[in-house]
Subunit: 459 residues, 2 copies
């Protein structure tokens, strides 16, 4: 008997799931149809700022696999510009709109994978829908910005939100010759870092010629003839030919919710470790699905391609009749902004505090290579350590070339619930082109341990 | 009551120990005398090839702390060119030769830290003591080579041994304009990697103009007027104006052994986790001391600055009345040779086999960044996994810029006895400038896991 899998969403999670299911079951056992609303399947959305900034030559390079390839090599019927409008769980069918033909049709399914991704947060402010105001989520979004910049030659850009994507876009637009202002509600950019770690980012942005306005709420977007002409904040009016919204995204879980699939407290589709939703025979993966946070033990929504790929693979394995589980996340992230590398994993101070952890925070400055070695660059590492257990709760890195990827060592330590006391003598690699004789990670662990010990003695 | 600590050896382990003890006890509680046979204290021996190759401008940059600094800032009486000839455990004194004055004297001690380091392995071959044949262990060795190259303008160099130090020195001498031949006994260079991983290194060496002769035992060194003129192997005679011995080192444990301190099966001084030797009140640390290998559970000798520093610190803490332990090593190492980055941790195939582990080995090729991102370079990762437990036993990396430091993630995984099944979904950082959407470490874990699963199914 041939079953049919329908996949809603043709990017990382959906197509990873489809491909993985295909590896386990041939077309006689499993027919696969994937619906994608946009023009592209399986691409690197994280690469958009680099394509706009010209670091990457062409948007084409961001495409991993086109629909034809899925069809020809994987026997997956990947259909672009097909928007799924409704899921009928009982009738086992989806209603689809062909965006080009303008017609609607239904397709039946036995198994369903919901991979509807995320959507940029759009503040409910006057003028937010004006022409020239862009979110950055899909490849189509990215290409729309590219086209606008190329065709309309905007001079002034305002980026609303100073998180990863906002700063990456600000840098890209500066590279394209625009005058760029970043407006951030918080007192500092990069709120996924603690303020003391984010400071350096602000300095570098300003050095690159980006105007950075912090603690500044945006109140409206002014338009002229339907086209944005300025961004209004509580304290000023910023003229803008183009606006990029970098306010983060939220899980695109509406379609699932409307069908009666349970959406959790974090706003994403609830899934178990096998990526099964509340509805039998229905999986969810990627940005639309909640993830289990291994430190807080709470569901979170973290839109990130690497999670989407892994979750898609896990869903695909289970759909294909194997068994796999996704063990959760710990909030690891990395970015390169304005010649700085920034990274984080685990909890920030504020998160640790809100969750009621008693902790110490300790920050060290070191170098990426032996101090005397050419190319040795500055690196700052902050560790957050639970006082009771001595366990590492979180880590942040800001630094120059060669700094940020060290976060993976700290992520692996957190993953294994290591105590800093054990970390300070770990056998990490040393040679002058790669590290000082005490790797910065070990120095950070040692200093945190010393602070922990002295905090205990004070008690 | 003031006690006296005597430290034998003024490099990483000895001076880390002395400084750490000083942090805990002031000069009223602990007098510290450190004897160093050579001209320098506390330096980076690993930096020698880079100083000779001109990557680092000056040997001075390799010096971390001079004797005056120890004396003035730490109240440590650090004496250079003082060779300890004998330890009298019962009489609690050492006999010292002042190498400049030519006189001998004794100094009493209450506590003793032996940090005599390692010595280059010198094959017992005719002519090995000729002028122009150098080991590379101490800063004095390095400066002697530098002086020889600068003063005598040698044209042809032969490096005996194709391990880390041999290859680093070969590259340095090529950079200085010498014609360099590396003679290696094994079938491939870099025997701390498996042959399939070492191959690439051989290619790169040849591309750099280094002549590489493998499976070629050296039988003699020919000299003329006391000065080396050629290296004789089983199959040829290689003319040489300068010869570098890169055959590894052995623990310098003779002095301790002569005093009755127990030397272990690996040839180093036996120590417990607190770095205590068999003799009460006597510690050992660094290259002269054995280390506990956390995977094999056997003592090993691994000469490496980073271990020396950590062990010195642990010894110093215990000497100073605190409590600390050194948890052992897993064989992590990294090097940059001929534009390649190489790294390893845990067991190689041969070691795993000799120890009777049943394992699978799996190698993957990936890139250091997203494939489309500028600077994305090749990386090859090999994992060795125990079949029974699924536990990661060892890992090796060879690659270009940005490859090798990933070994620390694998080292941290091994440290925590992780199974590959758990590793493949670890929350490692992703962004296009830093990794493909599946980090190479995760790809390696996934492929190893798949191979493991299929090997189990075959059983």
């Amino acid at each position: 008997m041939t079953e049919r899998l329908v996949v809603i969403g043709g990017d990382a999670a959906g197509m990873s799931g489809a491909s993985q299911a295909r590896r386990l079951k041939d077309p006689n056992g499993l027919e696969i149809i994937a619906f994608e609303k946009g023009n592209f399947t399986s691409y690197s959305a994280c690469g958009i700022p680099y394509a706009i900034g010209g670091v990457v030559d062409d948007f084409d390079e961001l495409i991993v696999r086109r629909p034809e390839e899925f069809r020809d090599k994987y026997s997956i019927d990947a259909r672009i510009r097909q928007e799924v409008l409704a899921i009928d769980l009982l009738g086992r069918k989806v209603t689809v709109r062909d965006l080009d033909a303008g017609r609607e049709y239904t397709e039946g399914f036995d198994l369903l994978l919901v991979a509807t991704g995320a959507k940029p947060i759009k503040p409910p402010l006057p003028g937010v829908d004006s022409q020239g105001v862009f979110g950055v989520q899909t490849l189509d979004d990215g290409m729309a910005i590219e086209k606008f910049v190329a065709d309309e030659s905007p001079q002034r850009a305002v980026v609303v939100g100073g998180g990863y994507i906002g700063l990456e876009m600000a840098e890209a637009l500066v590279t394209r010759g625009l005058k760029v202002t970043v407006v951030e509600l918080a007192p500092q950019p990069m709120s996924k870092l603690d303020p003391d770690m984010g400071e350096w980012v602000g300095e570098k942005m300003r050095a690159m010629g980006i105007e950075l306005l912090t603690s500044e709420p945006v109140t409206a977007f002014e338009e002229e003839g339907g086209r944005v002409r300025s961004v209004v904040t509580e304290s000023r009016n910023l003229s803008a030919d183009v606006v990029v919204l970098g306010l983060g995204v939220k899980a695109n879980s509406d379609l699932a919710a409307e069908a009666g699939i349970t959406v959790g407290s974090a706003g994403g589709i609830e899934v178990n470790k096998q990526m099964e939703t509340s509805a039998p025979g229905v999986w969810a993966a990627g940005d639309c699905a909640e993830k289990y946070h291994r430190i807080t033990h709470k569901p979170v929504v973290i839109p990130l391609g690497t999670h989407a790929n892994k979750e898609g693979r896990v869903a695909g394995m289970n759909i294909g009749g194997a068994y796999a589980t996704f063990p959760g996340v710990i909030g690891t992230a990395v970015s390169k902004v304005c010649d700085l590398e920034v990274a984080r994993t685990g909890l920030q101070e504020q998160e640790a505090e809100e969750l009621g952890f008693e902790y110490i925070a300790s920050t060290v400055d070191s170098t990426t290579r032996a101090g005397y070695f050419p190319g040795s660059s500055a690196i700052k590492i902050k560790l957050i350590v639970e006082i009771n257990t001595g366990r590492l709760l979180g880590a942040q890195i800001v630094g120059e070339e060669g700094a940020a990827k060290r976060i993976d060592v700290l992520a692996t330590a957190i993953w294994n619930e290591m105590e800093v006391a054990e970390m300070l003598n770990m056998d990490l690699s040393y040679a002058p082109p790669f590290a000082p004789v005490w790797d910065p990670v070990l120095i950070a662990a040692r200093k945190a341990w010393e602070k922990l010990e002295s905090s205990r003695r004070r008690d």
